[in-house]
């Protein structure tokens, strides 16, 4: 769920900077020393390969139903069994994973972009504009995303792009607060003031100076947003908003498996459930590692 605030760790950097090492290289080295973060990176790499290269190796028919072989338990022919319309479950896990990863990634990035622009504008403008813009953020946070998504599902069934847009629009609030705070601390720096003095525009100050200097905060926020978005995608099908068959995503597989669970068809719920948990965990671990490596205050 969105709007979870992760506490900032204490700055964990105990190492002394290597002579001549740039900030980025230092951050990379600190990141690589974080075992959980590296494990997260490996998990993400595995699932990207699994979903995008996997179907080339393990090819299955995910379009046509095969009603003579439904709900088969795992066997040599179907490693993870088959679902209620005869799709091979392992192949479906790859097929659905593509949607989950792409939608989660796109929605997470979109949310961060909206939040960044909103937060930077509010923080830079200050005064009543800032106050008004941040009250809008407060109002958005006061309505849990799941409730909005459920209302939307009562109105329409969006396509893939529509889903990305909706998820982006309900989850940009937390990053906007982070970037605003960052902007407040950057906008009175000498280089911004100098730019203004020599006639640079506000847009230039924000886009060329404030945002590039907030890049580590933005990267960390994006990683957490992706984690939250993938989790939110998993809820979307459960709420009745998901992609339509024969297409699916991990959340859709899980929602479909809910009915089968009581019949003992564990292979229909455990694989998608574990896949979601692993990937969301991995992005959170990466975000955690990046935050410590860049030494930025957490989301919140």
């Amino acid at each position: 769920m969105s709007a979870i605030l992760q506490p900032a760790e204490l700055p964990g950097a105990t190492d002394t900077p290597h002579e001549g090492a740039s900030g980025v290289r230092l951050a990379v080295r600190r990141f690589l020393r974080n075992r959980l973060a590296v494990a997260g990176l490996c998990v993400v790499a595995f699932f990207v390969l699994f979903c995008f290269v996997g179907p080339l190796v393990y090819s299955t028919d995910q379009t046509h139903t095969a009603l003579q072989q439904v709900n088969l338990s795992p066997s040599g022919n179907h490693w993870l069994g088959t679902d209620a319309v005869g799709h091979d479950e392992l192949g479906r896990l790859m097929y659905g994973g593509k949607v989950s990863l792409v939608v989660g990634l796109a929605a997470g990035v979109l949310a961060t972009v909206i939040g960044t622009l909103w937060g930077a504008t509010a923080g830079y403008a200050g005064g009543w504009i800032d106050a008004a813009m941040m009250r809008v953020v407060d109002a958005g946070i006061a309505i849990p995303a799941l409730f909005i998504l459920l209302v939307v599902s009562a109105i329409t069934t969006p396509g893939l792009a529509g889903m990305i847009l909706i998820l982006g629009l309900v989850s940009w609030l937390v990053p906007s607060r982070l970037i605003r705070a960052e902007t407040l601390s950057l906008k009175n720096r000498d280089y911004v003031l100098t730019l203004r003095a020599i006639g640079g525009t506000h847009a230039r100050a924000i886009l060329r100076h404030i945002l590039p200097n907030s890049v580590s905060t933005i990267i960390v926020a994006t990683t957490f947003q992706i984690a939250d978005a993938i989790l939110l995608v998993a809820y979307v099908s459960y709420l009745g908003l998901g992609v339509q068959p024969p297409s699916t995503d991990w959340g859709g597989m899980l929602a479909a498996g809910l009915n089968a669970a009581y019949s003992g068809y564990w292979w229909l719920i455990l694989p998608p459930g574990l896949a979601i948990i692993l990937v969301v965990w991995a992005f959170n671990a990466i975000g955690d590692g990046l935050r410590d490596a860049f030494d930025v205050r957490g989301r919140g």
Binding site: P7, P144, A154, Y238, L278, N284
Partner: protein
């Protein structure tokens, strides 16, 4: 800024947020294709029937007029009438809200009671195996969709091991729902899991921060024992900001209740909202969202005030 100036400003901010919420929800629900009339009368309704419905419900007036009409009703405690249940929304919510509050409060208390000692334990054993294990478990709990967790709980503790019922007792009154406390166990656990994850992280961070403060070193230098320092100073100083966080956590608790109530067929506000969404019962949806937003705004307000009044460092701008 003096405390009273702070309070006045903060309350005005909260009112502004509530006003924006009413506008957003109102706009969202009126941007519907076909409008509420289609949803209620069905696709077979004639244009005349729709026009009559719109007229009766005041839906043919300009939107700003409808909005102020709505606002006036709100101020009189009138949340409108349900399209499908034929009852005032305020009464429907009044019946369901206490049940949801029981569920969320129990989840929150369970979550805090487990998260606080866990977080402190992690801080004291920082970077030891215990710390890593709890951190990993926290991340896993945080990464698990509530409905998946609920399903696994039902399968294990209700199907395989018949310890707890998989459904809440049905009934109109709060007493009916509470008549079988065992039925509350699985919903409360499902609701508390992600909370344990998040709040043990907070507690760990807060405890670590306090452990590095000068007063701890002073107390140590004065010969106080570690356990006494931990219990006497660090615990209290870490607890306040963490408990205040609960105020910011209100929307997440309600979001969790939405899923948990649907999953366990628990007749609270979340289930009411769920069935209202299926039936396009907009007054009910609007009313529920408003109540939740109000609860969130009040929660956030209290959290801010508590932090400021209790922790003098917030005032000084240090924390």
């Amino acid at each position: 800024m003096s405390t009273s100036t702070f309070l006045i400003r903060r309350v005005l901010q909260a009112l502004a947020v509530v006003a924006i919420v009413t506008i957003v929800v109102f706009a969202l629900l009126h941007a519907l294709p076909g409008g509420p009339a289609r949803g209620i009368l069905g696709p077979q309704a004639t244009a005349q029937q729709i026009a009559r419905f719109n007229h009766e419900q005041g839906l043919d007036k300009p939107l700003p007029v409808q909005y102020f009409y709505y606002l006036d009703q709100l101020l009189h405690g009138d949340l409108g009438t349900s399209y499908t249940l034929n009852a005032p929304v305020s009464r429907l919510i009044g019946e369901r809200l206490p049940k949801t509050l029981v569920l969320t409060v129990l989840s929150a208390v369970t979550g805090l009671l487990l998260a606080i000692p866990l977080g402190m334990w992690q801080a004291v054993r920082r970077n030891r195996p215990v710390d890593y294990v709890i951190t990993t478990l926290s991340f896993i709990a945080y990464s698990t969709p509530v409905y998946f967790l609920g399903l696994v709980l039902v399968l294990v503790f209700s199907q395989v091991l018949p310890w707890f019922p998989s459904q809440a007792p049905q009934g109109d009154s709060l007493a009916d729902v509470l008549s079988d406390p065992r039925a509350l166990v699985l919903p409360v656990v499902a609701g508390a899991a992600s909370m344990i994850a998040v709040f043990s992280r907070y507690m760990r961070a807060a405890t670590l921060e306090n452990l590095s403060e000068d007063y701890v070193r002073t107390a140590r230098a004065g010969g106080a024992r570690s356990r006494a320092i931990l219990r006497g100073h660090v615990f209290r100083n870490s607890l306040t900001p963490v408990v205040a966080m609960l105020g910011y956590y209100v929307p997440v608790l309600f979001g969790g209740a939405l899923v948990v109530e649907q999953l366990f067929n628990y007749p609270g506000m979340g289930l009411l909202f769920w069935s209202a969404a299926q039936a396009s019962d907009y007054p009910v949806l609007l009313g529920c969202v408003l109540v939740i937003a109000l609860a969130t705004v009040v929660g956030t307000l209290l959290a801010d005030i508590v932090q400021r009044v209790i922790d003098p460092r917030v005032k000084a701008g240090r924390a």
